[in-house]
Symmetry: C2
Subunit: 341 residues, 2 copies
């Protein structure tokens, strides 16, 4: 369940089979749970900027910007992708927390001249090394010219649809922001048919690939107890004078004082680990130096891979640790930078 | 799934068996998904008032107030129960939408001196005609003096816990707002043991009882497309000068112009109806006059009961209608006022 919607995850296959397939071919993912928060009106840019430390005045129409959204204490509320549709109209393609009501509250509290709404837009992701060939086959070669985190438009059944080079994997690909859910089945079928010669399969964000690739998950690696600096988002934090956002004072203090913990990878041994439902302690000697929040067996690295916030003193690559896994075992592990190679 | 938590619903029994039991005995419900939004600080009352048309200056410490929360267009965002803990501290015990981030956004946007947080409080409901005897048995006779929608305190394992005479049924009972989730199993076991001689059973909000009783469900009978007047909450809408809330202008217009639709019961014939997953049309001649949003077979009334927003011209009790049920059948029905008798 993501944003009050089901995310289809299982198609008569295993996470491991999906992983190998995603790295070699192309997959179609129903990620319509990535809801859009539409912010439109004369104060739209002001409202979006209020929510994020990233300087969005640098975004042009046609850009997708990955944005940390923070609260007054610089705690992370969400990490959406912003789509700049026009100077007065933005979509935030959100992770799993209710930005719609947060943005509504902010706009009402501030008295901003904007409309905050959830349009009938359902993203569909096409991911994997053959995604570009497949998309070009269907929509024409111009989609090859779309840069990373840029978008363009394609025609489908008499409508214009937004297509971005983005997606929640490191294998390359696109997301179609389908406007009009009644077109969902037709779009799926069209791609499915054309995808046959590329060995297309249905899929979903793959846990092995995401952890290896260093992609973080809101609600797991980051919550409101974390700030952007802890999870490697310093490059998206602007302190320029004319960038006005909530939590700027708190974030400045953090920038000056530094953080205690940072996100890292942990490679650890033993049998394939169980699902990490509650965080697992990462230990050095008898001291807890961090917690693993996501983990899985990597068939490629032939070890378990996890993501964890680690105390800086113990966060250098190569640091030896032990991991207390929820099955009662203690595993030997090593800290590494993300992504895993 | 309610407020990002699972609501336990099935205990090896049927909704119908639970219904009869709830009306005769006592049930224990894990409704910890009713999360608390805690609003504390010098501007706490100002922030809560901003969110609701109900005049909360009339609430005393010890009161529970049912509150519609509305947006700038008077659309319903939630319908929580407010607990006034002190003049500067309130809990909103929420229905299924994210008031935490809405209140956070409002407070930040308005620059109010409050802290908005989610405390470790997990409500447990004790519902049914024997609830009072059971609670008195465990916590003492003073709980008999707690008035409807009032609260008091009880001692449990060295802690003080809030107990209110409230709950999502019409059979009477209490809700314990357990502060400290580590005490959950001990509290459950204590009530379970003492409840044996009252024929206690585990349960959850009962769909038959709720529909018959005219209790509405956020996300079903009301969404942001509805206003308080449509769903019978006019008595909670204040237009006094010193009551300041968002959406007041929009709500005043609605009060003056009147609404087109109002919530009603529909009693309809035929076999026990399926689950109402998407709204069913209510017809008079060939015209749609409303939509049923919740429905179920009532073994007591020996008919199907539903709740629907009905065009006012067709909303009088006794109005004959037909219902287009999702199983393809058309049923004969009659409009009635809520609750069903």
């Amino acid at each position: 369940m993501v944003n009050h919607m089901l995310l289809p995850k299982a198609y008569k296959t295993t996470v491991e089979e999906d992983y190998w397939h995603l790295r070699q071919h192309v997959q179609i993912w129903d990620v319509s749970c990535q809801r859009q928060v539409q912010i439109e009106g004369p104060c739209a840019e002001e409202l979006v900027q209020l929510m994020t430390p990233r300087n969005i005045s640098k975004a042009k129409v046609g850009d997708c910007f990955y944005l940390p959204i923070i609260d007054g204490n610089a705690g992370l509320i969400n990490d959406p992708v912003m789509i700049k549709l026009s100077n007065n109209k933005f979509w935030l393609s959100i992770a799993d927390s209710d930005v719609l009501l947060y943005a509504t509250g902010l706009a009402l509290g501030r008295g901003l001249d904007v409309t905050v709404s959830e349009p009938d837009v359902s993203p569909l992701a096409i991911q994997g090394p053959k995604a570009e060939d497949l998309m070009a086959d269907i929509f024409g070669n111009h989609i090859r010219d779309i840069g990373f985190f840029k978008y363009d438009w394609v025609s489908f059944e008499g409508t214009k649809q937004l297509i971005a080079r983005s997606g929640y994997s490191r294998q390359g690909g696109f997301e179609i922001y389908l406007n009009g859910s009644h077109l969902g089945s037709a779009l799926w079928d069209r791609i499915w048919e054309a995808g046959q010669r590329f060995d297309i399969k249905p899929g979903c964000p793959n846990l092995i690939e995401r952890i290896e690739g260093g992609l973080l998950s809101y609600g797991n690696e980051m919550t409101r107890d974390n700030n952007p600096f802890e999870i490697g988002l310093a490059k998206f934090c602007s302190f320029e004078d004319d960038v006005n956002y909530l939590g700027k004072a708190a974030l400045s203090r953090i920038a000056q004082q530094g953080v205690e913990r940072e996100i890292r990878g942990v490679l650890f041994d033993g049998d394939p680990c169980p699902t990490c439902a509650t965080p697992w302690s990462v230990m050095v000697d008898e001291v807890e130096v961090g917690k693993i929040t996501s983990a899985i067996w990597s068939p490629r690295l032939k070890g378990n891979v996890g993501q964890a916030l680690i105390l800086l003193n113990f966060a250098e690559g190569g640091q030896k640790v032990t991991v207390k896994v929820s099955d009662g075992t203690t595993r030997n592990g090593t800290i590494c930078l993300l992504p895993f190679d």
